[in-house]
Symmetry: C2
Subunit: 326 residues, 2 copies
DNA sequence: CTGTTAGCGCCTTCAG
DNA sequence: CTGAAGGCGCTAACAG
């Protein structure tokens, strides 16, 4: 009996059965070699006594923690909430817990979270858009890590096929007849924002290219750039992500610019929240699936990170441009 | 040096300084009694060697984990994402980590999560709307716990002043001239849903009382009940929460019922997401603050749980009823 | 104020 | 297949 918590230990079930603690230990661990009979008896006694393995003790002894650390910049963004759920579900299935750290959109907090958790996890899944490559790698100290929706030299990473997503978005708008497709770029410091911008630039050559921003990865970011967008004379716009796109739509509507009649808007991410009001056309990026893949790369040696497919989902915020009423 | 992880241990910094391990331990723990001079030397050496305390070892030795468990039914709901953030920020400030478990809206998963984490945390903050009181208490095995947005006999709990919130909502609608105020109730199995329904019933007496549902705690739940609402002839409705309210608005709009002209809608929770499109009038319930209070009750003995204030936030989904056009 | 000693609960050689 | 012994890294008496 654990003196402090009053919980049963391995010795209690050993005593109960008249066997040694090592036998109980072996019976309770996958690679332990015990007779089937004793294994069953041990399992029964453990259940009866309410035994739960003390993971701190196991950790100390084995050097493994059976836990993964997950960093996300902001849990309020459903994009990351879904990643958290996906990672947890997958890791649980593989016998691992996931410790989530919300880093509050701060590079500093990303580094701190890594340093705090480093000893207590077997590996990291990092949604870490802000911290610099070198600081990340330094803080990691060699702990196995998969980067999600970012690339860091020397680390495996799981990213979405943004070029293909952007191609789908641009093709859709061009097919509708939009000559000038603007882009609202996300925060300059964010890897993902840079990658999405590059994808746009690859798809839309000068002189048709119209880049606005960078704006904050928030509703307000979209709001702030709407008027500038109107001034460009574009009839269609692709936004860094759905949240930004919603801000854009909000301000456009307030200005009397009807979406999609006077402005087609495409978001990025494919969040459910973007369908609540005026259902937004968006390039969907797999959230849970990306997280699951990242966890697999960490936990199943041999799993090779592959690009996540992106998919344009056409809803109601895109249409053919209307002839200007004069 | 830790053989496995290659990280410095307390012995390394002890050796480096020519002192004993216990001295280092004392220098590094709050209640340890060491001379200021050696404390400084130890801190310097620890920093220089990149020492990080191994929390498993400390845990094993002290019986405390410096971690809290937080259960939430669904991280995708911003209500809980904000609770998670609030709890983490507060706990971090008090030297504790927070392990979040998303229980996927399942009573079973709530119990399992508690049993999984019980040994690894010093206490729980439970947003656990589904599991039964007895099973919860049984699974907890005496681990210090605060229940958030629910009441469980024998456990301290932090809840919002729903009656006052409901009073504000109903008063607002009555002042606007609505004679019949309907209510869309949340899932029958959820404590919070029952509490909100009671608050409505306390505020609206028969025969004016119109209760719809129960519906799922989702956008679709609101969608599903909109037509029934119209059939009641009510001109105003209060929904179980914001997400449900948004579903309601969506379907009403699709039916050509303009909000707020033909139907006033009030949500509950006060989420930002409910302002993205047609800004929703809502009864705001403190999220982060409730989580912080719960953490304090756990970590600061003597903190007494107080009811969280609720506040009606009037936005654009409520107005005076329009005379029926015939 | 500091060093020595003895575990915390578990896993893992090593014998038998 | 099973028991005994040692140690993971740290803290907590107990001496000095």
């Amino acid at each position: 009996m654990n003196a402090r918590s009053g919980r049963a230990t391995i010795h209690d079930v050993a005593a109960d059965l008249g066997v040694s603690a090592s036998t109980v230990s072996r019976a309770l661990t996958p690679q332990g070699t015990v007779s089937d009979a004793t294994r069953r008896r041990v399992e029964e006694a453990a259940a009866r006594l309410g035994y739960r393995t003390n993971s701190a003790a196991r950790n100390l002894s084995t050097g493994r923690t059976n836990a993964l650390g997950l960093l996300v910049p902001d849990l309020r963004n459903p994009f990351f909430a879904e990643i958290a759920k996906g990672a947890q579900n997958r890791a649980r299935g593989r016998g691992h817990a996931v410790y989530i750290a919300d880093t509050n959109l701060s590079a500093e907090a990303e580094i701190e979270a890594i340093e705090m958790m480093r000893r207590d996890v077997d590996g990291f899944v990092l949604c870490s858009p802000w911290a610099e490559d070198e600081r990340l790698v330094a803080a990691l100290q060699g702990v196995p890590t998969v980067v999600l929706h970012r690339e860091v030299p020397g680390l495996p990473s799981v990213t979405a096929d943004l070029h293909d997503g952007m191609r789908q978005a641009v093709s859709h708008l061009r097919a509708l007849g939009h000559p000038r497709i603007a882009y609202v770029s996300g925060p300059a410091g964010s890897w993902n924002a840079r990658a999405r911008l590059s994808a746009y630039e690859a798809e839309v050559a000068e002189p048709a290219r119209v880049v606005l921003g960078p704006v904050a990865d928030q509703f307000e970011g979209g709001v702030s750039v709407a008027d500038a967008l109107l001034a460009t004379g574009s009839t269609a716009v692709i936004a860094y992500n759905d949240i930004t796109a919603l801000g854009l739509v909000s301000r456009l509507t307030a200005r009397g610019v009807v979406v999609p009649d006077r402005m087609s808007v495409i978001g990025f991410d494919g969040l459910d929240v973007a369908t609540l009001a005026n259902p937004l056309t968006s390039v969907s990026v797999p959230r849970a699936r990306g997280a699951e893949l990242a966890v697999d790369v960490l936990l199943r040696p041999g799993t090779v990170p592959t690009a996540l497919p992106t998919q344009l989902v056409v809803r109601e915020s895109t249409a053919a441009p209307q002839p200007t009423v004069t």
